[in-house]
Amino acid sequence: MRHLSEKKILLLILLFGLLLVFYKFISVFYFPDSDWKMSREQKIELEVNKPVIQKFRSDKNNLAALEFLFGRSSLKKVNGKIHFQILEENCTEKIADSYLTPQDINPDDSNAFTFDKIADSENKIYCLKLIFEASDSKTKNPFVFTNPNDSSDNVSLVDVSGNELKNQSLSMRPAYKSDTFWQDATELNKRISQYKPWFLKQYFLGFIIISLMLLSVLLVAILLVI
């Protein structure tokens, strides 16, 4: 280490930092289904250890995340974590689970539970459970939102009391990955290209992104060593 000059250390930091940025990017590299509506119409309180159960149909393969909206008002006083489970249609066989703590939640944005992508998820019905697991008795309960159900993909919603809420679904969006990184990159390019003029679309956009990356890294590398 003592043989390394400060210039080389700075270049190593540059390399390491870039890897970190792209590692973080890969972790959110999934695409929410924009046909699903999300709104803050009505709310359901998540009571301790009482699941809210939503059944829904996945439209595509490679289901990789589900995004939800959480209420703002009680969030700071929530002590515990929200346990998310995704199960087969009959709600018995668990496929994946994940947790969110109040610190992870941004009430102004959608919040994703991510899991290993389910390869053959197209047209399958899944059961998801949201369970609040309190860490002390003084906690406030978090809440999630529901939408009027206007899609056949939302099969049913059962609240914490076990009652089915007719014509309601959780305010949520399934999100998908592709089979390969390249397909995901193409999907991202497609989304950014929409409603853009020809010179900011597809190949032009790809060229701009690659050029700016290369030139920016080259610029910083040069300035670090001169």
Partner: protein, 481 residues
């Protein structure tokens, strides 16, 4: 280990400067593509102003009288052109309001679901409802953009709108070039001038701001040009071309946005200081002194009428000043200003961003102490600019702070709330002065040039990662993932 060897041309300052400018431009073009149409602050209103200025003088269409609506929930209620309203309605998200979770309803291809309808180009691009909802008349930025709007009139709104955004990036690129010239002229070496320009080029809010259509883009350029003019006056004296440069910048600013009244104030004070020094040293003749005073009085007279300063001053309500200061100078409000000055930090509740913000504050506080030490110290630091430049940059910062807070206080007096507020972008016009001061302040503690060199390189790395992290991991997922 051997030292790092680079081809000689890579080290040439002309090449590095070109790299700074080209890479900034490309990042800006990418950002214009990243932000959906009309996504910037009041961007639809700015574009409507450009369309209004592009209208034929003879209004041959039916004009309806409709008061300007304050409710922002529905774009159809605004007095915008049909083209803006229809375009916005066709690209609208599935989700109501301005919530962060709203995304466009995407298609499976490179063409948006309603893109062909927008490209048909058959909606009216003139204002049918009067008064039009515009951001001031006879504004230089909008006038320049209206030339693009007219020149590409036969193309779709997507082409015209995004070309104007790209024009704004060119203004930002010009600011960076001026930054390099300013830093060179105050005495920074070639290397530090390049480093500082590169650091500013990666400031996330700076590049985001220039990828929107807003008159603030030309305002920032005017501030940079004015800073250069004054720096040259400080360096070479009251030569005609330097004074002309500062005056031109002031006029560009004044015909762009009211904020530029700050430049007039700074210039008067600046000249007064220079004249005082010259009079004291018996170095000035009466004729140029009188000519300058008359010129400034004429300028003050013209612009006090233009901005109706008399009404503003007579309407001041000092009774609300205490309440305003008490409510506005809080950590919470400063945090909002700071988060929006550095980027879209408010878009994430991630504790990492709070850490970044507090880290920046810590650096700024240390720098502020360092600046005080430098000002009161008699020792000259070789590789740093002279004190006169530091005092001038401090004056610029103070004047803009006072100007923005003065207007915010006026609005507070009228409405009882922070309807104007102090979003961070309002302070961007002084970004060059701000960054120079931050790094100069650190020198008081770093002492040696070697450490100053490292601090600038670490600053560059920090800003580089900050830009990429914010854009790739926050902004891009917000709209598309």
């Amino acid at each position: 280990m051997q030292n790092i060897q680079m081809p000689a041309f890579l080290k040439k300052s002309g090449f590095v400067l070109a790299l700074i400018l080209v890479s900034f431009f490309l990042r800006g073009v990418f950002l214009t593509a990243l932000f959906p149409i009309f996504d910037g602050p009041d961007e639809a209103r700015h574009y409507n102003t450009i369309q209004y200025l592009s209208e034929p003088e003879e209004k041959s269409w039916t004009i309806n009288e409709r008061p300007i609506k304050k409710d922002k929930s529905d774009i159809a209620g605004y007095n915008f052109s049909q083209e803006i309203i229809k375009t916005a309605e066709n690209i609208k998200t599935n989700d109501p309001g301005d919530d962060l979770f709203g995304i466009i309803n995407f298609s499976e291809s490179y063409i948006g679901k309603s893109e062909n309808a927008i490209n048909l180009n058959d909606w009216h691009r003139y204002n049918e409802n009067y008064p039009p909802d515009i951001a001031g008349e006879n504004n230089l930025y909008h006038l320049l953009c209206s030339l693009i709007e007219k020149s590409f009139g036969q193309y779709s709104i997507l082409i015209r709108f995004y070309l104007i955004r790209i024009f704004s990036i060119l203004l930002g690129t010009a600011v960076l070039f001026l930054c390099y010239i300013i830093t060179k002229n105050i005495g920074f070496s070639e290397k530090y001038s390049l480093l500082l320009s590169a650091i500013i080029s990666f400031q996330p809010r700076f590049s985001m701001h220039f990828s929107y259509i807003t008159y603030d883009d030309l305002l920032i350029l005017a501030f940079a040009l004015f800073t250069l003019g004054c720096v040259l006056i400080l360096k070479n004296g009251l030569r005609r071309k330097n004074v002309l440069l500062a005056l031109t910048a002031m006029l560009i600013g004044l015909f762009t946005k009211g904020t530029s009244i700050v430049l007039l104030t700074v210039f008067i004070f600046f000249l007064a200081c220079l004249f005082y020094k010259k009079i004291k040293n018996h170095k000035i003749k009466r004729a140029p002194l009188l000519a300058s005073i008359i010129l400034l009085l004429v300028l003050v007279f013209i612009f006090q009428k233009y901005f109706d300063l008399a009404t503003l001053i007579s309407g001041m309500n000092f009774g609300t000043l205490g309440e305003y200061l008490f409510k506005s100078l809080t950590v919470g409000r400063m945090e909002i200003t700071s988060k929006t000055y550095w980027g879209n930090l408010q878009w994430s509740s991630n504790i990492f961003y709070d850490f970044i913000l507090y880290f920046i504050w810590a650096i700024e506080i240390i720098s502020a102490i360092g600046i005080a030490v430098i000002i009161f110290s008699k020792k000259k630091i070789e590789f740093l600019p002279e004190k006169k430049y530091i005092l001038f940059f401090l004056g610029m910062l103070a004047a803009l702070q006072l100007g923005i807070r003065f207007y915010d206080w006026q609005i507070f007096s009228q409405t009882g709330g922070f309807d104007l507020g102090t979003p961070g972008r309002y302070f961007l016009p002084n970004i060059i002065s701000h960054f120079i001061l931050v790094f100069c302040g650190l020198v008081a503690f770093l002492k040696k040039e070697k450490y100053f060199d490292i601090s600038m390189k670490v600053g560059l790395l920090f800003m580089f990662f900050f830009w990429f992290y914010l854009i790739i991991d926050v902004v891009m997922p917000r709209y598309y993932m």
